[in-house]
């Protein structure tokens, strides 16, 4: 039930090689881990999971599930034989089948099909809904049916494609924790694709960052947050300002290189003592309830946006940050 997933040198292109979707991606997921794949749209995340599920054929590289070679240039195990489960972005529930039939659909053992399905529905909290049809359910309920359907055949790897993108914020937060509690309970190795890093940070053991079809970083959540390897990775996890020459002068923080430092907007403090400080003129305030967003103009004319919960009076303020919060990249 728990399996390792091994991807080596995976590449895939479309339109006779004109569009490169994935280039030389290599990584490994430990049994029982939840791995999030994060990237902008077009970064190749969907292609990656479709390749793992067997819905596309790779151009080069290999995919192993629990030491079985499932895809290479010479071999392609059909999706139905890969023992992979998948929850699709828009759930892809079969509209003409009832909830129970949807869940029963993938179960192989003939004897206790119905029992297994009912158990799984119970697990996702949908007891009593088995006779309904998909269009009679709310978005969150459909999501759970989709999860139950994917889990019922007890796959060794579970793939989730943007599982929460169709839900509103409240539902999303609740369901996210529920879903991953269930997944953790079953112990299945899971890969999930998201463009929302909050999801990834909240539930993933490991996060994998894709940019233009290339794997740019793979790390545990906290490590990734604290030490992103590029400004791209850093900006995926919240607004980030690159410390260019102008900002370095304004804050009087001479750094060695020009290009490879940045500071998260949330690390910038207002009216507090810091390692590096600067005066700024407030151009615009936006009230956001517990916070205010300020558009600032620095001495040297650079513009900057900061968010603060401190009450701010007057037209000028003092802003600053500490050297420990400066992000440095290898590039």
């Amino acid at each position: 039930m728990q399996a390792t997933l091994n991807i080596t040198n995976l590449s895939k292109s479309f339109d006779q090689g004109k569009v490169k979707a994935l280039e030389d991606v290599t990584f490994h997921v430990n049994p029982g881990d939840i791995c999030a794949v994060v990237g902008e749209s077009g970064s190749g995340k969907t292609t990656l999971i479709r390749l793992i599920a067997g819905l596309e054929e790779l151009d080069s590289g290999e995919i192993h599930i629990e030491n079985h070679l499932v895809a290479s240039i010479k071999k392609n195990v059909a999706p139905e034989k890969r023992d992979v489960g998948m929850v699709f972005q828009e759930y892809a529930l079969f509209p003409h089948l009832s909830v129970l039939d949807n869940v029963v659909y993938g179960i192989k053992k003939s004897k206790s099909k119905k029992d297994t399905a009912l158990e799984t529905l119970d697990l996702v909290g949908l007891k009593g809904y088995e006779k309904r049809y998909p269009h009679e359910l709310s978005g969150g309920q459909q999501q759970r049916v989709a999860l139950a359907r994917a889990l019922a055949p007890k796959p060794s790897v579970l793939i989730l494609d943007e599982p929460f993108s169709n839900l509103d914020a409240m539902m999303r937060y609740r369901l996210r924790n529920e879903v991953f509690n269930i997944i953790k309970k079953t112990g299945v190795t899971a890969i999930f694709v998201t463009h929302d890093t909050q999801d990834a940070l909240a539930v993933a053991d490991e996060i994998l960052i894709l940019q233009n079809g290339k794997l740019v970083q793979k790390d545990e959540a906290s490590a990734l947050y604290k030490k992103p390897q590029s400004i791209y990775v850093a900006s995926l996890f919240g607004n980030t300002v690159q410390l260019n020459k102008g900002l370095q002068t304004a804050f009087k923080c001479p750094l060695k290189e020009d290009c490879c430092h940045a500071i998260r907007n949330e690390s910038i403090t207002v009216n507090q003592d810091c390692d590096y400080v600067s005066e700024a003129e407030i151009l615009k305030r936006t009230f956001l309830g517990t916070h205010s967003q300020l558009l600032l103009k620095l001495d040297n004319g650079e513009h900057l946006t900061v968010v603060t919960s401190e009450p701010v009076l007057g037209n000028t303020i003092k802003i600053g940050f500490n050297s420990k919060d400066v992000l440095a990249f290898d590039e």
Binding site: A53, D59, E80
Partner: protein, 545 residues
């Protein structure tokens, strides 16, 4: 990618579906290839004569015919489809299905009927006499009349395809457009017409193939087109080789049309990919005066394409019924029905296999060439007949030589006839199937596969129930087409099987057009039932999506 990897990939991706796809493609393209092979023999000796004296005429007339028909068909088909799907007016519900009826009248019958109505002491001149203007006449037996007649008998193809589009997808966009302060009429030209283009063109390609293929109406009206030229060079000049050369040119033109249609919708895949989840649209109720106008506008093509020809046929029927009617007509009707039913089922099956084998096959090159399988629709029935007869006779002779059989088992039996029909009408079945399968979200079949079901199980459990409506409309369209089909049937049917179309032809070719009224009306009647059924399906489908 280097050659070795290409080879490995090919070997990996070559599954049994690719082979089966090749097999299906092979089966349906044998006649076409046979004809293609004949091209190597060179044209007949009159080829130069044809190029010098008549080819330009054929090209010009066929082009004009296609042009006029496109304009009229779009005018009738799109306008009526838009009106019935967007507005509420008197008799809308009835008109909605009445507009499909012209499909049930074969074009050649329509041509005879119109010649009768506007000809010597026909309905029209009687009407004019009544108004005291007896000398006023409208000449329909020319290229303009022919365009009109072909258009009104074929516009339902465009009506059906664009109405499906309007019902399924246009509502949200139109509402958005109206919120932006753009009137319904303006939105139609700015928004709906461009968006509906792929749907309209899909219908139009079918219409144009039929127009280019028409023989009966064109020859009666004295318009020399490519197809009449094919018949002429074959039968009057006695040069089948030349006829085959001409058909090859025709085939190239149609192939160009198909490529054009594919090309023009290369960016428009979104229209097919997703249907709006909005419920059935609410229709606008225009002003009273406009409502009447809309009813009238929608009734015009119904009148021209159905009521008028049927009235003429009924007048003829009254004159000839006593002499023409025999009990035999009951069994001929049943036979026509049975053949059409059997063949339509097989054709739909082939179209399904072609569609899904293409989908399951993983080799790109094969995927893109599967459209070749539907070219048969563009080839005149008589040429298809030759393409089928040559290989099947060859096989028959071989079987006899090997003492496996003692007589012809393929030819002059239903096998060869049904085969020829399948080759000819595959396109008609393929089109609605393809569009309805495109409407299914890809992730549905993907998730079935991930859940451990193979292609076959996925098809039966998921895709089949969801494309049932598309399958039925494919079936009905082919059914109607086969009921009307003539040249193929004439040459390939078994001795003791008779169809209504053949009966109608026998009378008409002997210049006893009025006696052809009975079989013609029976064709219309037999085709009517599924046409109405088709409409019910379309409506049900639209309200479900």
């Amino acid at each position: 990618m280097n050659l070795k990897n290409r080879f490995f990939k090919l070997k990996r991706d070559l599954n049994r579906w690719s082979l089966l796809l090749l097999l299906i493609l092979g089966i349906v393209s044998v006649p076409i290839l046979t004809i293609g092979f004949k091209l190597f023999g060179g044209p007949g000796e009159s080829w130069n004569h044809i190029v010098d004296y008549v080819l330009f005429d054929y090209l010009k007339n066929s082009f004009l015919l296609a042009l006029f028909c496109s304009v009229i068909v779009i005018l009738f088909g799109v306008t009526t489809a838009w009106l019935v799907s967007r507005f509420e007016f008197p008799f809308r519900k009835q008109l909605e299905w009445l507009l499909i009826l012209p499909l049930s009248v074969p074009a050649y019958i329509m041509a005879y009927a119109y010649a009768g109505v506007f000809g010597y002491s026909g309905l029209f001149s009687k009407l004019m006499e009544f108004f005291g203007n007896g000398d006023f006449r409208i000449e329909v037996m020319n290229i303009y009349g022919l365009s009109l007649i072909l258009s009104i008998s074929l516009f339902p193809y465009v009506y059906v395809s664009s109405r499906t589009f309007f019902l399924a997808q246009a509502t949200n966009l139109l509402e958005a457009s109206r919120m932006l302060g753009i009137s319904e009429f303006k939105s139609f030209f700015k928004l709906i017409f461009p968006l509906a283009r792929p749907a309209i063109l899909a219908g139009l390609v079918l219409v144009l193939m039929e127009v280019l293929n028409d023989y009966g109406a064109a020859s009666y009206y004295g318009v020399s087109t490519f197809t009449t030229g094919i018949f002429r060079s074959w039968f009057s000049l006695g040069e089948p080789e030349t006829a085959i050369y001409l058909s090859a040119i025709l085939l190239l033109i149609v192939f160009g049309l198909i490529l054009f249609e594919k090309w023009q919708r290369r960016h428009l895949n979104f229209t097919a990919a997703k249907t709006s989840k909005q419920n059935y649209n609410s229709r606008i109720k225009p002003k009273k005066a406009n409502q009447v106008w809309f009813s009238v506008i929608c009734f015009v093509p119904v009148f021209l394409g159905f009521v008028l020809p049927v009235i003429q046929l009924l007048i003829w029927l009254k004159q000839t019924f006593a002499s023409v009617w025999t009990v035999e007509f009951i069994s001929v009707t049943l036979e026509s029905f049975g053949i059409a039913f059997l063949t339509a089922s097989i054709t739909v099956l082939f179209a399904l296999l072609l569609l899904f084998f293409t989908k399951w096959n993983k080799i790109e090159l094969l995927k893109s060439s599967s459209k070749l399988g539907v070219l048969g629709y563009a080839i005149p029935g008589i040429i298809i007949a030759i393409g089928v007869l040559i290989p099947s006779l060859y096989l028959d002779k071989w079987l006899i030589e090997k003492n496996i059989t003692s007589k012809l088992i393929l030819n002059a039996t239903l096998i060869a006839l049904v085969y020829a029909y399948v080759v000819r009408f595959l396109a008609v079945a393929y089109q609605p199937l393809e569009s309805s399968s495109l409407k299914i979200d890809r992730s549905l079949s993907d998730s079935s596969k991930v859940l451990g079901k193979g292609n076959f199980k996925t098809f039966f459990k998921i895709e089949f129930p969801l494309i049932r409506v598309g399958m039925l409309s494919a079936f009905i369209l082919v059914f109607i087409d086969i009921l009307k089909e003539l040249p193929l049937t004439l040459i390939m049917k078994p001795y003791d099987v008779n169809t209504l179309a053949v009966k109608a032809f026998e009378y008409a070719s002997d210049e006893m057009v009025s006696s052809a009224a009975l079989p013609s009306l029976l064709i219309i009647l037999t085709a009517l039932i599924p046409a109405i059924f088709l409409n019910k399906l379309l409506l049900k489908n639209a309200s479900n999506s």
